[in-house]
Amino acid sequence: MKVKEKQAAFATDEKVNGADLFIKALVEENVDTVFGYPGGAVLPIYDALFRHEFPFEHILFRHEQGMIHAAEGYARVTGKPGVVIATSGPGATNLITGITDAMMDSLPLVVFTGQVSKSVIGTDAFQEADVMGITTPITKYNYQVQNIADLPATVSKAFHIATTGRPGPVLIDIPKNISQEMTAGDFDNKFTVPGYQPTMNPNPLQIRKLATALRNAKRPVLLAGAGVTIADGAHELKEFAEKYNIPVVNTLLGLGSFPGSNPLSLGMGGMHGTYAANMAMYEADLLINIGARFDDRLTGNTEHFAPNAKVAHIDIDPAEIGKIISTDIPVVADAKKALNALLSDENEQSNHNAWLEKLGANKKDYPLWYKHSEDKISPQWLIKQIHHASNGEAIVATDVGQHQMWAAQFYQFDKPHNWITSGGLGTMGFGLPAAVGAQIGRPDDTVVAILGDGGVQMTIQELAVLADKNLPVKVFIVNNEALGMVRQWQEKFHGERYSESLLTKNPDFVKLAEGFGVRGLKVEREEDVPELLEDIFSYDGPVVVDCRIDWKEKVFPMIAPGKGIHEMIGVEVEK
């Protein structure tokens, strides 16, 4: 049904309940997919969904944590808000990790939780939890509906707040008596939010200042974060970098906002970034941060971060500016609008060829490196093969840990909106459901999930959704029978005392996949990889591949904890 028809279908009902109004409000927000799980407090909502013949797709996950990560994946690759419905109590508390993750990584989510009826709120009723109290610090905004007349406007407002400015999760708690209440009223969905007016356009004076700084810079660097992708500013970023010949460092979440294959790209910066990227930030005299928040995994020890640089910071969230790194030229604006303002400001080229040559030499002499494992698969090589087999165009979702860093380092992203990873919160169990959500949001694209054997076991039940909906996600378990990143830190910084980090009793992932109705494969030698990849990328259905790697593999180069970005270890010179 088209949206107009759907709205007409609602208009014919004379007396409706709160749940009907709620479904109608979602339709009016043009929601096409909802990630949900039914339960007592949302029974009226699920009944309304059924009676209205599912005016949008509802995907039933197997755990609330899975569905909210799926909503995050969906939001990341489509730019649209991920919509979630869960029941009260445990349904709501199972969402907490995903809500926090979305808050940290600025993902638009609109989360609806059922609540026990108003008459029993506060009495420790069955499946009651103080969801408002719990989610206040982890949402951009939350609200409990007190009155059926407020419901349509509240839904509208939730979508507005979640998707504008710096996106984030908004939670609406709906007591059961509200969704059950009968009404003949057709309530207005108009709302005002006087305390929330994000600044979109940059201050022209600040843009002038930035342009002047750029003209005088001898060693300029751009640091591009996810803010560029969220603002749809990748095209403008490329134009700006190329116009003034400024090298670009990407943050982990910013990968893809600037083409990795572009000669001006220095790759990822930070703890496991490239030597060239980190040294560029260390030696720069002008650092222009666009849409990144100077996370500690990027800056290393802040004392040594860009010590000689004039810092310009473009961010839509004023609270990010000056939070970690003191800023000389603050610009509060949408990344795309700021880039457009910079592009329209006629500026002379600064001459910094010597700088570009130096960075080019760093890039060439100190590339990312790996060694082939003797009898197992080297994970970095595997990622490169996956890149090759998917023409570098796949949507890649990862979990958290070593495989995440290898994917970030070796799957070169040329396009925005194709990279899904949990950056701020570092959530294990994120990758598989996020890939499922991405495939639902972009059904025609190839979706690859690169996971660890530890993280995949946290949300592996969502393989059921892959089988159920026949979603052709290619799942690679980079299996080292260990919690690899924990193990690496124990090896390097805790005297090789592998405290609870070895997973010697892993399940048989092939059988496990088959049990869920998903094709399962296992690969142990590099020589078998090319053929296997050809097979699975031409297979139209979900696949799980158990890829055996050497448990001793480590992620390099790295900045040790407490060290500066100029003190990387594990840097190898290209011979």
Partner: protein
């Protein structure tokens, strides 16, 4: 450094929780908070006295307050011409002999005795925090049995000398 910050907020359920939670999470050291309704219906005013280490931390505090959806306006009024008051209720040990002596101490502070019992006196005092501190220290020798303070509430004087008030909007930069 001690600063007095005022915030104009929408009077919605959970707003105080949201703000104190944020201050706690971000490790801001609050000396006092006072909240109450304002001249406009549905709008409340909060006054914070905070102890921040430097300008950068102060800037973060005002920005984080401004970021809250229900917060309409944040002002640092410390360096302005302001009227700032708090109320304290002080119960001190006293008997009939001491009553007059205590009365003598509190008179210059324009404090008043609002309750008398056989063994104690309740004193009410309003004023700037340092005035209240001074009175408390004078009363200490008599034995303070109970003490409660409301925290500072403040606003700008009707007339400001020369320079204008700086309002720290979310779009100040």
């Amino acid at each position: 450094m001690r600063r007095i910050i005022t915030a104009v907020v929408q009077n919605q359920s959970g707003v105080l929780n949201r703000i104190t939670g944020m201050l706690n999470k971000r490790q801001f050291n609050i000396e006092s908070i006072s909240v109450g309704t304002s001249e406009t219906e549905g709008i409340s005013k909060m006054t914070f006295v905070v102890d921040v280490s430097d300008q950068q931390k102060l800037e973060q505090l005002t920005k984080q307050l401004n970021k809250q959806i229900e917060v309409l306006k944040v002002s640092d009024i410390t360096d302005k011409a302001i009227v700032a008051r708090e109320l304290a209720l002080i119960k001190v040990g006293s008997n009939a002999q001491l009553r007059a002596e205590i009365q003598g101490i509190i008179t210059p502070f324009r404090a008043s005795i609002i309750d008398v019992s056989k063994e104690s006196l309740a004193i009410q005092v309003t004023g700037k925090p340092d005035k209240i501190d001074a009175l408390i220290s004078l009363l200490k020798p008599y034995g303070i049995k109970e003490l409660t303070r409301t925290g500072v509430t403040a606003f700008l004087r009707g007339q400001q000398p020369e320079q204008q008030v700086t309002e720290i909007h979310s779009f100040s930069i």
